[in-house]
Symmetry: C2
Subunit: 186 residues, 2 copies
């Protein structure tokens, strides 16, 4: 089954009518390592899910990249600025591995919200879940040291350490690669 629809069903029930409307709107793509899903400044975005692959989101600050999140298989992903509002994206989303993704564009998603009231329950619960993830991240950034954040990542996302380069992880943790290398030596 379409993995994006499968995910939606985890958040709320979908009638056959909604399911076929969604099927018509959801597109599938394959991207190479290094390709972009979205670049800073873009106004149209999509909600997407990876069937296989790995993706990162990053910002540019003083000419250097700062990673804000990594996306793995079967997790709802997207860039909220252009998705929820019609505002240019502040982030870049780039694939770190060859990836297959299913996506729905913001215009189409908003049309679904307008047409089918039940879709708003799914949208609400999805947004609420994302709030929880973001709150955890804020707490982690505010209350944990870089070393604690690294150990947390090691424990809860060991695959991240395996699949993502040290430099990218350091940037995500908010420290320099050299510092992370020294933390890891311990």
């Amino acid at each position: 089954m379409n993995p994006l629809i499968k995910k939606f069903k985890e958040y709320g029930s979908i009638t056959p009518e909604i399911e076929s409307a969604l099927t018509a709107k959801i597109k599938c793509r394959t991207k190479n390592k290094g390709d972009y899903f979205l670049k800073q400044g873009q106004v149209v975005s999509s909600l997407f899910i990876l069937e296989t692959g790995l993706v990162r989101s990053f910002y540019i600050k003083n000419d250097s990249e700062i990673n804000s999140w990594f996306g793995f298989e079967n997790i709802i992903l997207g860039s909220i600025l252009p998705l929820f509002y019609k505002i240019p994206s502040a982030e870049n989303i780039q694939f770190l591995e060859e990836s297959t993704l299913y996506y729905i564009e913001s215009n189409d998603l908003n049309e679904m919200y307008r047409k089918y009231n039940e879709m708003n329950t799914i949208g609400r619960v999805m947004a609420e879940e994302y709030c929880k993830i973001l709150e955890d991240r804020v707490i982690s950034l505010q209350t944990q040291s870089a070393e604690e954040r690294y150990n947390f990542l090691l424990e809860y996302q060991p695959d991240a350490i395996q699949r993502i380069s040290l430099g990218h992880i350091a940037s995500y943790l908010g420290i320099k690669q050299e510092t992370l290398s020294r933390i890891r030596k311990k």
Copy 2:
């Protein structure tokens, strides 16, 4: 008009039926400086709005308090853990000034979502807006130095600097009070 209902109307339309159901559920309280709205470990929470007053949210880490946000008048507030999920709160919410608030408990809010489908549009847009606030906060914590965060606060929430003590602001910015004092001297 009930300020919480007024706020809901900013997010979506409300039928007279929904409005009267909400009116029946929304309660009003006055709290003194130092009183708690919610303590760590509590499972039931509420969505609330301040008519007057000021509130902060904080975590305990190594026996010291870390502020995670401040709440001013006419902004939707709450603690998402017990609100969206039935999980004990990780945060404490305490009033910094005498405050008048309007609130709806999570059980009642969820009942509204179940009964009135249109309420889910409001819930979705509220959650989406909160996602945006949280994302901005994550970006700020990750890409800005303490000094930049302080200047940002000065520019966009000058009232915060006026009404909130230095120690609380330092904790919010993720630095020690002494460091903030030194930054401010510049």
